[in-house]
């Protein structure tokens, strides 16, 4: 039995998980189930959104009983809501009854053709059934109408990466970078896609965007490693001039020193520090690109 302050703490945790898109479904089900069963009266109006959050987490954890009871409560409170219908559709999707779910979403769209949530669920159904090219096509049509939907752009970039269509994935990430210039993660993901595409110009572009990601957030280790790898790759390429080679070796050496320093700082005070630092140096050595 939780005390009132613990209950408030749990409620705030649930809110944090909800706002920051954490998908820790087991924890959500554990915490949410207790909150809903024992402290429902003290939650006030928050209870409905917690029902929704717990229901989706319960679907992830295969707790169909809990999902069904949450859905019933929501249906009782909001009988004609499209949002609740969408949750019912998600439950059908989890049970793999895709035709029924599709019919439900079509009925929502008949009522309200601008409902974005139902369209996105239909795209997810296509993806769940493995029809990725159709999902990509539908998502493209959706994005032509709703250009500002960042979640959808990121989803489309992920779909393209799965299909190994890196040029189009890079385009989607460029859209995201344009609308979120301060977000170092989009820069870094874009740089990774460019690095994967390969070729000298793409490697240079990748190195520049890794540097940009580092400028936005100097603690981004993936960008640091990416900078090291792309600089080493360019330096090892036979087609570059001597000056470019020298510059890139300098960048690579700087990145390597930053990596060693970061690991040293992280391991400060722990007795295995010396071995870890040595392991990092060996790893950097082994990652050197040699001309084959």
């Amino acid at each position: 039995m939780l005390s009132v302050s613990e209950m408030l703490k749990m409620r705030d945790k649930l809110r944090k998980w909800r706002e920051e898109n954490y998908r820790n479904s087991e924890q959500i089900v554990d915490v949410g189930e207790e909150l809903l069963n024992e402290h429902a009266s003290k939650l006030g109006d928050d209870i409905w959104i917690i029902y929704e959050q717990v229901m989706i987490a319960a679907l992830d954890c295969s707790r169909d009983d809990l999902a069904w009871s949450c859905l019933q409560e929501l249906k009782r409170q909001f009988p004609d809501s499209h949002r609740v219908k969408r949750l019912a559709g998600m439950r059908l999707e989890a049970l793999e009854r895709y035709e029924d779910a599709n019919k439900l979403y079509d009925s929502i769209l008949q009522d309200d053709p601008t409902n974005t949530a139902a369209r996105k669920r239909k795209i997810s159904i296509l993806r769940a059934q493995g029809k990725s090219s159709e999902a990509i096509r539908e998502l493209n049509e959706y994005l032509e109408q709703f250009v500002g939907d960042q979640e959808a752009w990121h989803e489309l970039s992920e779909l393209y990466i799965n299909e190994h269509d890196y040029a189009k994935a890079a385009f989607c990430l460029e859209e995201l970078m344009m609308t979120n210039p301060h977000n170092h993660l989009y820069c870094e993901q874009y740089a990774e896609v460019k690095y994967t595409q390969g070729g000298l110009e793409n490697l240079e572009l990748a190195r520049k965007y890794f540097a940009q990601a580092l400028k936005l957030n100097n603690r981004n280790m993936r960008a640091l490693f990416g900078l090291y790898m792309s600089a080493s790759h360019i330096a090892a390429s036979p087609k570059v001039s001597a000056k470019v080679k020298k510059d890139n070796m300098k960048y690579g050496a700087w990145a390597a020193s930053q990596i060693s320093r970061a690991y040293q700082m992280a391991g400060r005070g722990k007795k295995e520090n010396k071995c870890s630092v040595k392991a990092v140096e060996e790893m950097l050595e082994s990652m050197q690109i040699t001309m084959s």
Binding site: Y22, E34, M90, S124, A128, L185, R219
Partner: protein, 130 residues
Amino acid sequence: MASSFWKGVVGVGLFALAHAAFSAAQHRSYMRLTEKENETLPIDIVLQTLLSFVITCYGIVNISGEFKDMDASSELKNKTFDTLRNHPSFYLFNHRGRVLFCPPEQEPSTPSAQALPSNPLRLRKLENYH
């Protein structure tokens, strides 16, 4: 609770502000009655106004919650791909979790099932949560 103290502070500040305004209005009408229009507002009313204003502002700032950084990118320093890649509107449910987290009662009661521990992934509440 701390917030009721600050709410009290804001209340006191607003009351003092209203009181100062009322005294200034009274002073003005007194000036008009005694025809001494050249006297300025007494300094204690001015001080009371300024002080209650400062107290009210300070109290409101403490009620209104945490400040955010001006630098837009500093909020993102702790964000990782773990959460950025999750798109709640596009969640799929045909993943291993449907089988992995299946509650033990639904499993068929074969001898091999007896050997399975009771869902080792079930976490202890509260203490383990970051």
